[in-house]
Symmetry: D2
Subunit: 442 residues, 4 copies
Amino acid sequence: MIDLVEQFMAEIEPYVIEQRRKRHGYPEIGFAEYVTTYELSEQLTGKGFSLFYGTELLTSEERMGVPSDEFLKTNEQRALDKGVPPAFLEKMKGGHTGLAAVLDTGRSGPNFAYRFDIDALPIEESDVAEHVPAQQAFRSQITGMMHACGHDGHAAIGLGLVDYLSKNKDRLCGKYTILFQPAEEGGRGAKAIVDKGWLDDADFFLSGHVGLHDLPAGTVAAATSRFLASSKINATFIGKSAHSGLEPNEGRNALLAAASATVHLHSISRHKDGATRINVGTLHAGSGRNIIAEKAFMEIETRGETNQLDEYMQQNAQRILQASASLYDVELELEYVGKAISTSADLKFAGIVERACASSKNLKIVPDLAIGASEDVTYMIERVRERGGLATFMIFASPLPAGHHHPRFDYDEQALMAGLETLIRTTEYLLKEDGICESLVD
Amino acid sequence: MIDLVEQFMAEIEPYVIEQRRKRHGYPEIGFAEYVTTYELSEQLTGKGFSLFYGTELLTSEERMGVPSDEFLKTNEQRALDKGVPPAFLEKMKGGHTGLAAVLDTGRSGPNFAYRFDIDALPIEESDVAEHVPAQQAFRSQITGMMHACGHDGHAAIGLGLVDYLSKNKDRLCGKYTILFQPAEEGGRGAKAIVDKGWLDDADFFLSGHVGLHDLPAGTVAAATSRFLASSKINATFIGKSAHSGLEPNEGRNALLAAASATVHLHSISRHKDGATRINVGTLHAGSGRNIIAEKAFMEIETRGETNQLDEYMQQNAQRILQASASLYDVELELEYVGKAISTSADLKFAGIVERACASSKNLKIVPDLAIGASEDVTYMIERVRERGGLATFMIFASPLPAGHHHPRFDYDEQALMAGLETLIRTTEYLLKEDGICESLVD
Amino acid sequence: MIDLVEQFMAEIEPYVIEQRRKRHGYPEIGFAEYVTTYELSEQLTGKGFSLFYGTELLTSEERMGVPSDEFLKTNEQRALDKGVPPAFLEKMKGGHTGLAAVLDTGRSGPNFAYRFDIDALPIEESDVAEHVPAQQAFRSQITGMMHACGHDGHAAIGLGLVDYLSKNKDRLCGKYTILFQPAEEGGRGAKAIVDKGWLDDADFFLSGHVGLHDLPAGTVAAATSRFLASSKINATFIGKSAHSGLEPNEGRNALLAAASATVHLHSISRHKDGATRINVGTLHAGSGRNIIAEKAFMEIETRGETNQLDEYMQQNAQRILQASASLYDVELELEYVGKAISTSADLKFAGIVERACASSKNLKIVPDLAIGASEDVTYMIERVRERGGLATFMIFASPLPAGHHHPRFDYDEQALMAGLETLIRTTEYLLKEDGICESLVD
Amino acid sequence: MIDLVEQFMAEIEPYVIEQRRKRHGYPEIGFAEYVTTYELSEQLTGKGFSLFYGTELLTSEERMGVPSDEFLKTNEQRALDKGVPPAFLEKMKGGHTGLAAVLDTGRSGPNFAYRFDIDALPIEESDVAEHVPAQQAFRSQITGMMHACGHDGHAAIGLGLVDYLSKNKDRLCGKYTILFQPAEEGGRGAKAIVDKGWLDDADFFLSGHVGLHDLPAGTVAAATSRFLASSKINATFIGKSAHSGLEPNEGRNALLAAASATVHLHSISRHKDGATRINVGTLHAGSGRNIIAEKAFMEIETRGETNQLDEYMQQNAQRILQASASLYDVELELEYVGKAISTSADLKFAGIVERACASSKNLKIVPDLAIGASEDVTYMIERVRERGGLATFMIFASPLPAGHHHPRFDYDEQALMAGLETLIRTTEYLLKEDGICESLVD
């Protein structure tokens, strides 16, 4: 078997890198991955997978933080312009992006599920010479959007895995579900997929993230602990506009309320029980220089090492937002637009992955690395576990020239190869381990 | 003469109101009044005036707070779509809007200059039933833009005056310069016109504003005092983005710096010497919820009852902005984008206008009302006065359902008629007073 | 008569200056003027006046902002140590300081009332060489206390007036009430005197303040306008202490609530109708460096050019204090401890004082100067006027090396002489004006 | 030996409890433990120990955060009144409190050092009925001071240990140094003892803290990890006073600068590398309600899980304080008044203590508990380790009705007995382990 995998890895490398760069050049943010979804579907064609998308993939109401109609429409138009067929687009309209690809071998065996997230971020990508995507001409083509968290690579790993499964489908048993998830950023997409039942019968759930730890490519954590729980809140302050010179006292200043809330949100006390986070990521307020601002809009997120710690942050944030409205006598509207829970991967995977990859020359498996961030994959992990399956979230480490969400974020593409190889070897190992799969030919 | 004016006022009323409503329906903000300028020029055609626009009107570099190229281009395209001839547009490109119309009678006599500002505001106009423009179907056709300060009416008064002067040109002497000024909001346009020399030989300078005091239409202040001096500042904070969950300490938070600056700007101490104002009108910061904000942009204005008081506010503002950058270890860029100085109209006009309008049945002249706001007409007044001329800024009071810069701002159109009548009668009076104008036929 | 007054002024000067310096050296703050009251009573002995003090002077419950029992007891003990007789002290105990001195001539005539405030401030007096009280060795003997508002001089003028009335009592008619008021600072004493009825039958009420305008000594304003209305608020935030290292989240931080309230109170919007003021004068919070502060105490004052403007400030302050408590989940206790209303002196005095002082070589009378500050004398002025009397508050201007309430505050003692002369001449003029007083010998 | 220790514990219990309660009733804060030091010396008399105090114990200049002369003098006078002999006091004057007691057996053997801190906190102790010290009449007799961190018990354990060593001195070998340290709160005393060389030749260093973990008494951690590094900063803002009504703009507001600094200090970003803390524990500002505050004083501390993290907090704090001064144009003075470094106890003690106490019926030894707080014992641990010794800091857990530094802080006195027993048994074990001590009789 080792030969098989090694050989496959050598063959597939150019394809994985090409697909990663293609995705990198066309970043789309959560629930607007229209082109991304379509182009992934094109790669999947003819490989023996059944494809599901639109409301087949997602429960519409369980999506969180869906962008405005106007934004979606602009992106839908762009997708048409970019060549997405109208019929394909029709099923995705209104922010129903992402794709499930299912390979059923017809032979009894375990159900595997894999998850790859595909969305980008509203960051303007750097164009300095040292930035590899700029240097090698696969930088973002869309102003203000960037794959600054590595999901371009996740999609590419997914395509590599599809190729492997396709090529080996005659010797495999069981069922293989590949989930290309939209809107991971902000914790907005996973719950809608879980709700649709896609994880209900998974025996093994494998997922992972590139980067996160600045270690040589090839280093892979078999599991991860310390997902931060996270809540996403939109706050809108609504006051009253007035001429700021003629009658300043007649206004009720929404911008000031938002400014004050921002400062106070960042001063929520540390908690003795562990790490917490708060961020006011965006603030937009006011309509003109000499007008008391009537409206202010903020995007906020809280995080905590445990669900309790996130709850602590969220409750404090809510009280502070309310009090800040009261400071300036303005109204407050709160909307909860995303959530990730805290969990840990099954630590059993430490041994499984280590044994599975023992013979690889490329991989250095470590049992567990901390993620220290939030991921809505936690909804999937929890569901799999509830139903008796085993779930892990791996880390495919890479040297990092700049942190995640930074305009110069980038990673060593060998980390993608390491991720793909680890997924393949772990899958093979699980199949062989107890002789589940009679058809399996070594 | 009285008969002449009374008769003219009755005839012109429908035209003035029609023009005001036309302008109201198509609001354009400062230096983007492309359609406005062109449509005014159309009204001026065939009336015996020479027209000057583009860099004939304005010194390009003396304009302040010119919008971004992108914004101007969008508006230029819209102007073309709306029927502005390419050749006309060409001269205005890059934010050279506004118009001077000159009538030279060829007979020796005084030089009169009149100023009417024509720009609108970035405010979304109300559509409630009580709001007259909504009710009578002349509400703004442009989303997010509104004539919420009465400049629509100023343009209409200007057109009425042009009509009067045109119709009477054979009995008048001297020279008449009508300035349709762009970009009064923010104090951005007047200085560039003054710099071009348009006020250098004015013997009499007449201007005014509708509204401001909630008094019955027909009440007109012959002069105004207490213009607030004002400075317009754009502040940009530049920090460093980072993933707010993974490495919050790696970011330098521009949004927090702006928020903190906002709160502190509003807490600059009152001054014993008189009224001061500060407003952070807009704040835009951040690119994503889970990204430490790299950039924040604020539009700020200060005001003071005297130039010294505005200077006090501005210096404090500058120190606070710098210190706020330092609080969060971010960079600050400051740009000064508008300025109005403090002045008063010549109080001699109290008697002149009173006597000029004594016989009118419609007007109630009061000597002087406080404006309590900023106006860049002050640059014009100062220039006229330096060169030995007399200058006034009148107030054409009106009942006000809501304050200036409010989404339901509106006024009684009879206030426009009162304004026009006052300007005409004062002009006639000044001509006759010392028998300057031999040709004048009563 | 002129000779009489001039001669008296020359004779009394050393006494007035000596008394001013004596008072300057022994400053006592509001409701703790135990030694001051007693030493004034000593000066009044044997001059034909009846003395009233303790609850004869003040309605106990109408006093505002009475210091703590502990503070009063310390000061009462000091008064005993300083030689105040126990029986005299007994009547003043618990903060019943101040004195009324009444001279009844027995002859029918008008009732005159005069008011002199006598309290000092909790400021450490400067000891630099340029500071005259330091240079000439009459600097405050009490650490942390200082006559930094001129009330030392007011008391001295009052004693000079007593002397004049006493020496002339056989030629005068009517009744003369001299009120030495405690606790003017913070607007805490006047209302309690008014409530006791001392102003109910005054035909003429004369009062004034040294300094305020930096003009040559001898300049006297016959009346003053623009008293600021003012409210004094004490705010206490009560949270919960906790170890700041071990369990920071368990505390509720009263210090942070107070800090935040402070910043926001200073950012209440300016008001279009006129001048407003806010000050958080003191803030004391916390019990130890590594303890989350359980308690924070603030002394706040608001002011407004009109009662409405002060009300605007006060209501905003109240909302902000409440919201700040809510920001940090702490409790708030508010106490209203002082108030001054807005009023103006009777402008009729402009003419009266001018005529009264026309023959003086020392005085330059101006009709009216703005005070721009708060004074609880306004309660007295309002009461006199309600009952049909005439009331004024004069300004005895002086060059000022430093502002009021500054550690180097001082004034030209000739301003006291100007004040005394103006009071005497105005009194004589009012008596003579309509021949009210038959006994009056010129 | 077991019998010996068990028997000793039973006999000494009443004495330890009596001494704890005596100390509880007379709390003195850091560098003012005059009575405490003297009363401890009385208990040590006649037990064969040499006593060292004053500058024999401490390097004067290495003490941090010494209270004001005035405060020390008041406490010195109280000590005299309370019966401390003048000659004893003389050596302690100026804040040279604490005591070293040395027992030299004269037989070769290891050097043991033990540290017990003795200072209290400026907290007003609760008097509610449930609070045991109130109930059982040993509550603090000093208003505003309280042993709210358990150092009363530490002193009592120290006395119990002295008694044990004294009674067994004929069978022991080596040297025993008992350090009663002043001013642990704020990290102000340990460095001055270390500097004097008291830890330079210690082979074994044993210390510990009562409470910290709410576990049954008898639970003892053999070592502790995660001491937070900590810095203590005093900040003084100096502005300019002015009358807040007459000329608010003339002041420079130190109170506002401190308030703003407070809010911003609490908003320093969390750090990815671990726990951090910040606290503004006290803030005192301003001299009067209607005076712009000239001066504000704050006591601040930062903490970090590592020295680097504390450094991060301290550098941010410093920048924020400086920027806050700049916000309000005031001056800043910073003083560094205390510091504790981060370290961990030697984990070898886990096995040592476990074995040493295996036979005890009262003790449940756990290897290591996190402290999560700061302790200047870290200076001692580091010094011992530099010189090749072994050092530990134990935790003597106890049920806690309220957290440390809370007005109702208390603990189970059996935790003191557990602490004492652990120290004795560990000492005996270390002596016997390698047969170091020939004289040792079991």
